[in-house]
Each structure stands twice: as structure tokens, then as C-alpha cells.
């Protein structure tokens, strides 16, 4: 079976026409995983039995002639920080190495309702904290374009799995770029929806004011299909909102596109800059009105993010205490149980972030760090608001470099944090943004970021699908 050229739409047509069954297709994906994943390590858990039973169920539904959805019988993969009832969910942490999910995340429930097939759970940086998937307690994922390089992170397993045809689509989560940056490094499409467009219930919380679930797929159309399936208000997530895809009528002609000057900075890879600018030029040639804009507080976004996200993480990860679930070390006193369990269970980067957050929130430093960061966050939001009064969409690079070597940045946390420089502001402002492949440098993919206004996810995806046709031959 030609997995490379299969998209959700093509699978849907193939299933309806009877060219293949979902069971046959699922077996083909599993075979591919078994062959390739020894080298890639994109998966933490392969749910072969679950996938085959879901596929058989989907085949039955299709055979019965009942109306089925686009995702019925289509094999996908799920980042291992989202709960599937009865399946292990580790968040790539030793502290949850044997944890079995007791219920379904809302996104999982929604996909199950559509007849989806889950091939397995994909690798990530522990608790989604990282930009390379090297912080996984189970070892790094490798980039399918070059096995000596990282796939990006934290949804590196999901991006690598889609790129290597180990699944047709995958879910990721994006707190500071964790869907878009790995999508960029692996040459796939990665979409971070507006904050609140997708329920976070059943997603292991990292930084609740920033976390958002979204799809990774082979093209924008597929990403859109998955997004439509998982979005919507959920009583179990108070920050979720009802959302209807709109703004479909987008044409590149006369579209007002802003290019923020602060996103083409000293120190970024000149080749990446060139590829991104060439893509923007192609958009201009279609009649778009390209204008330089300014997002003046951009240079503060990274510091702001690395105060707010760890602060929220320090509170969210307090739940891993050796009492309720997961790893537990027996000690004489309660405090000892906490210290030992967490000391042994968490990896170095998770410890680092919990400590950064604890420090930023401690009395004496709260005003200088946490409160200051909240103020800067507001200024960053205002920058975007101001910009969107003049333009419809903003185009930027996704990452200042292509995929870097495994081990290259692992020993230097600050240089790893800098990999997020073009993606964090979008999370701070809660905006929708998609990464689409726009070229290659030395056979490594480069991504273009399309950013839109709140709840204009439809417009972002529509414009991205038009741009995709220009830049992908």
C-alpha cells in the first residue's frame, strides 16, 4: 500500500470505494511502524490490538452503508500526554512509566465518536517540556530526514510519525511551539488552534493558560479535518469555547499580510531567512498586499514565556506526589515520600522548570518575575491587537534554524529555550497559528508560520492551504 501518498481525504475515498479496508490499512501502518520505529523511536506505546478492533468496527460501519465521517477508519497517533481509557499514558516521564489512563480525554472521545483508529502513543519531551524530544525518559526520537538530528519538540514523536508515514495524522499539544516547531523540522503541517478552541480535558497539564491541543498532518486540508473533529466547547474545560469554522472566503489577492520586522533577527540562519522570504514573495505575486509591521515587545516574549510557563508548571506538577497515582517511594514521613518520589521520578529539565517556577512565584521575587511577566504578556497581546487592526494575517519563520543535531543543545538549557523564539508569543497571546513546509535547506525542511486573529482559525487554515499550493511542488 502506498502510505506515502495517502491523506485523510484519499483514505476516506478509498474506504468508501472498497479499494481497501480499514483493517488492511491499519495492518500496513503497523507493519511500517514495526520496520521504521527501531530507528525513529517515534512511539512510546503501540496499541496494535486497540487499532485493529477499531478498524474492524469502522469497516463494519462502512459496510453497513451508514453515513460515516472523514476520519472513520483512518489510522492516527496520539501524543503520549493525552488520555486514552485503558491505555498507558506516560508523558515520557519515569514518574508515570506504568500509569494507565482511567478515562478518555475529550479529544479522544470526539475522535472515537468519529470512528477513528489509534495506532499508538507518540514520544515527547517529558511533560512536553522541551524543543527536541531529547528530554523523554525513554530516549530521543530521531528525525526521519536525518537520523542524527532531532525531530523538534515537544511533539517530536507525532511529527516524525506523520513524516515517516507511521500514521496518517497525529495529535500534538502546543504550549510554546510544541506542535509548530516539530512540524517545521519534519516537513509536515502543524496547527495550534486559538486558545479555547479545543478542550484540554484529559491533556496532562503543563501550563494551563498556554496549552492547546492541535493536529499534525501531511497537508492543511487534513489538519483542518482533524481540527474540526476535535474542536468545540466542553463543560469539562471552563476555558473552552464554542467555535464555528468561518472566514472561508479567503483569496490571496488583496489579502493584507503583515511581516513583523522583529522576526527577522540577527543570529537567525540566513538560509532559513532566504527560504521564508522567497515563500512570502510568492504570496506577494498572487496579489497579496505585503507590509512590514512591528510587534515591539517581541524580544521580551521568550523571557516572559519562561517565567509564566514554569510558574504554572510548578503548580500543575504538584499533583505527582506519590500518593494518588504513578511512582511512589516509601518513606517514614509524608514529606519524605514527596521528596524521594519526585526526586527520582522527574527528569532534569522538569526539575529545572519546577524550580524556576517556584522561584518566580516565591514571595520576594513574585513582583520582579511573575507579575512583571504578566504585564509583558499583556503588552504582547496589545502588539498583536494593534497589528491586526492593519493586516489580516501575519507571516513569520517558525524556527531560526532547521533541525539541529541530537546532543547539540542538550547541555545548554538557555540555547534550547532560544529554539522557541518565534513561536512563544503566539501562545502568550492565545492566537491560532499553523506551520507549513515552505522549502528545504540541504534536504532539511523549513517551515512558514501563518498567524491569525482569535477564533479566525478558519481564515488561517484557508490562507495556509492557498500558500501551501504555491510553495510545495
Amino acid at each position: 500500500m502506498d502510505l506515502k501518498n495517502l491523506t485523510i481525504t484519499k483514505i476516506h475515498e478509498g474506504l468508501l470505494k472498497g479499494d481497501f479496508t480499514s483493517v488492511e490499512l491499519t495492518k500496513a501502518y503497523i507493519k511500517n511502524i514495526e520496520e521504521k520505529d527501531k530507528d525513529l523511536a517515534a512511539f512510546i506505546t503501540i496499541t496494535k490490538d486497540l487499532a485493529l478492533s477499531q478498524a474492524a468496527e469502522a469497516d463494519k460501519m462502512i459496510a453497513s452503508g451508514k453515513k460515516v465521517s472523514m476520519l472513520t477508519g483512518v489510522p492516527g497517533a496520539i501524543k503520549d500526554n493525552m488520555l486514552i481509557d485503558g491505555v498507558k499514558c506516560t508523558s515520557a516521564s519515569k514518574i508515570l512509566a506504568n500509569y494507565v489512563a482511567p478515562y478518555d480525554a475529550t479529544v479522544i472521545q470526539k475522535l472515537k465518536d468519529q470512528g477513528a483508529v489509534f495506532l499508538g502513543k507518540t514520544n515527547l519531551d517529558e511533560f512536553a517540556m522541551g524543543a527536541s524530544t531529547e528530554n523523554s525518559a525513554f530516549g530521543p526520537t530521531h528525525n526521519p530526514y536525518d537520523l542524527s538530528r532531532v525531530p523538534g519538540g515537544s511533539s517530536g514523536g507525532s511529527a516524525a510519525a506523520v513524516a515517516a508515514n507511521e500514521c496518517c495524522y497525529a495529535l500534538g499539544s502546543d504550549t510554546g511551539g510544541s506542535i509548530r516547531q516539530p512540524a517545521s523540522f519534519c516537513g509536515v503541517v502543524g496547527f495550534k488552534p486559538t486558545y479555547g478552541a479545543v478542550s484540554r480535558y484529559g491533556l496532562m497539564a503543563f501550563a494551563s493558560s498556554l496549552d492547546q491541543i492541535g493536529p499534525l498532518a501531511k497537508n492543511v486540508e487534513d489538519a483542518r479535518i482533524v481540527f474540526e473533529a476535535i474542536s468545540g466547547a466542553d463543560p469539562k474545560d471552563a476555558t473552552s469555547g464554542q467555535y464555528i469554522l468561518k472566514d472561508e472566503n479567503v483569496s490571496l489577492k488583496n489579502l493584507k499580510v503583515g511581516i513583523p520586522k522583529e522576526y527577522f533577527i540577527k543570529g537567525m540562519d540566513l538560509e532559513v531567512e532566504k527560504v521564508v522570504k522567497e515563500a512570502i514573495e510568492k504570496v506577494r505575486k498572487q496579489g497579496a498586499i505585503i507590509q512590514e509591521i512591528s510587534l515591539p515587545h517581541t524580544e521580551y516574549a521568550l523571557a516572559c514565556y519562561y517565567i509564566i510557563a514554569p510558574s504554572e508548571a510548578s503548580a500543575n506538577l504538584a499533583r505527582y506526589d506519590g500518593i494518588k497515582y504513578g511512582l511512589s517511594k516509601t518513606e517514614n514521613e509524608l514529606l519524605g515520600v514527596y521528596l524521594k518520589t519526585r526526586g527520582l521520578g522527574f527528569g532534569l529539565e522538569v526539575k529545572r522548570r519546577i524550580m524556576l517556577g517556584t522561584y518566580s512565584l516565591s514571595s520576594g521575587y513574585y513582583d520582579a518575575y511573575y507579575l512583571k511577566a504578566q504585564e509583558v504578556r499583556e503588552l504582547i497581546k496589545q502588539d498583536f491587537k494593534e497589528a491586526f487592526s492593519k493586516v489580516d494575517l501575519i507571516l513569520t519563520p517558525v524556527s531560526p534554524t532547521t533541525a539541529f543535531k541530537i546532543g547539540e543543545k542538550a547541555a545548554d538549557p538557555l540555547s534550547m529555550y532560544l529554539a522557541d523564539i518565534f513561536t512563544v508569543a503566539v501562545n502568550l497571546a492565545g492566537l491560532p497559528a499553523v506551520s507549513i513546509p515552505c522549502g528545504e535547506i540541504d534536504k532539511l525542511p523549513v517551515g512558514l508560520q501563518v498567524i491569525g486573529k482569535h477564533f479566525e482559525d478558519g481564515k488561517v487554515l484557508k490562507a495556509a492551504s492557498l500558500i501551501e499550493k504555491l510553495v510545495v511542488e
Binding site: 521580551y300 523571557a303 517565567i307 506526589d321 514521613e333 524550580m355 516565591s362 518575575y369 499583556e378 503588552l379
Partner: protein
């Protein structure tokens, strides 16, 4: 540079046991990142923070019944239990 004592104190507040080697590395790494945070001191704009704009977002504080099956799964997940209860070490 933050002191070793600071690192020990933050680790304890964070409920994290660190090895000697981890504590040393943490002193260097945290200092470097905290130095980077000083960038924010350049921002002089005064801004008033408002909570969620005018909308009532709080729900009633009420327990919703879960299925027997879910309850059993949740209790089973706890490392130390007694009957239907999660067991913890003496607190007082």
C-alpha cells in the same frame, strides 16, 4: 549567581530531592536563566492587569457523580489504599 543554599531552599519548596551533582548543575543553569529574565527590567510601560473581562466564569461547587467503574479505576491507580480510601503517611 544564586547561592547553593538558595538552590537547596528552592528544591525543598519544590518538593524535589536533588543529588549533589544535580544541585551543582542547577546552580549554574538557574543563574543563567534568571540572568536572562533581567531583560524584562527594560520594559518600563505601566499596564493595568484585569481579570477575565466581565464574564462570569465560575461554576457551582458541586460534586458530580462518577460511574462505579471510574471510581474503582481511580482508586486502583493509587499506590497505597485501604478499602475505598487512599492511604497516606501520618501528617501530624
Amino acid at each position: 549567581m544564586i547561592s547553593k543554599k538558595d538552590v537547596e531552599n528552592i528544591a525543598k519548596l519544590s518538593r524535589l530531592d536533588l543529588t549533589e551533582k544535580e544541585a551543582e548543575g542547577m546552580q549554574k543553569d538557574l543563574s543563567e536563566v534568571l540572568d536572562y529574565f533581567n531583560l524584562l527590567k527594560e520594559v518600563k510601560d505601566k499596564i493595568k492587569l484585569v481579570s477575565v473581562e466581565g464574564k462570569e466564569v465560575l461554576r457551582n461547587d458541586e460534586a458530580k457523580a462518577q460511574s462505579r467503574e471510574t471510581i474503582e479505576k481511580l482508586i486502583q491507580a493509587a499506590p497505597n489504599t485501604k478499602g475505598e480510601h487512599v492511604k497516606v503517611k501520618t501528617i501530624l
